[in-house]
């Protein structure tokens, strides 16, 4: 479930990256974050399948709920990281302009 949620986040981020007008929102950051994690969880899933066989695709409801909760929080954390990188790098200079405005007051 975590893998699935992360893959959907990666696909959505990639579509947004493809549709971008410019790089001012740094859409490549969430792409590499979510694809990197998805590929790594894929490796984990392969070993899970080798270990459990078909039972790997039939998780317990409680386990699935916990994994979904983890997946959503992973997406939230990834988006927070992207936001922090965006505000620190400030490609459009909006943060700097805002700070200069406040300093001038």
């Amino acid at each position: 479930m975590t893998l699935l949620i992360c893959v959907f986040a990666a696909i959505f981020a990639t579509v947004k990256w493809y549709q971008r007008k410019d790089d001012s929102l740094m859409p490549g950051v969430p792409c590499v974050l979510f694809w990197g994690a998805s590929l790594m969880w894929l490796g984990d899933a392969i070993f899970g399948y080798i270990e459990d066989g078909a039972a790997f695709f039939e998780p317990e409801a409680a386990e699935m709920l916990n994994d979904a909760y983890l997946g959503l929080s992973v997406v939230a954390l990834g988006l927070i990281l992207w936001l922090v990188i965006l505000l620190v790098k400030d490609p459009k200079g909006i943060v700097k302009a805002g700070l200069k405005k406040k300093a001038a007051k």
Partner: protein
Amino acid sequence: MACFLVSAAEAVVVTIAAKVAGSREMSAESVKLEKNAAAEEKQENRLPWSRKLTILAKLLWGGAFLLCYEHIWHGEVVPWFPFLTAMNDPGDTAEMLHEMSTIGVTMAIIVTVTWAIMMFVADRILARPDKEPDKAAA
């Protein structure tokens, strides 16, 4: 247990390699300016190595960061020494090392192979002739 550490270690190596490649490309840039235009054009049809390695480093760092969070979620990574709960018991440590050498290495290989395919395709796309604006819009 700590499988993400393999990818994190690879990320460190790749980041250093990207920096080295970047500085070499910068110094080669001045030499390239003196060469003929054809050679320059051929070079432009491929992504520079520093950029390729930076993409791999970002994939590895991103994945390792989010997997580290997953391990914190499962209580396998803690914010106090020795940071990995498996380090407290020799049996768990052996299991952790086994997991790193199997699942961890597989994860790093999957990311690296995917990146290699991506870069191969990216170079092929760059080598394509540019589309005319009318055709591209259609």
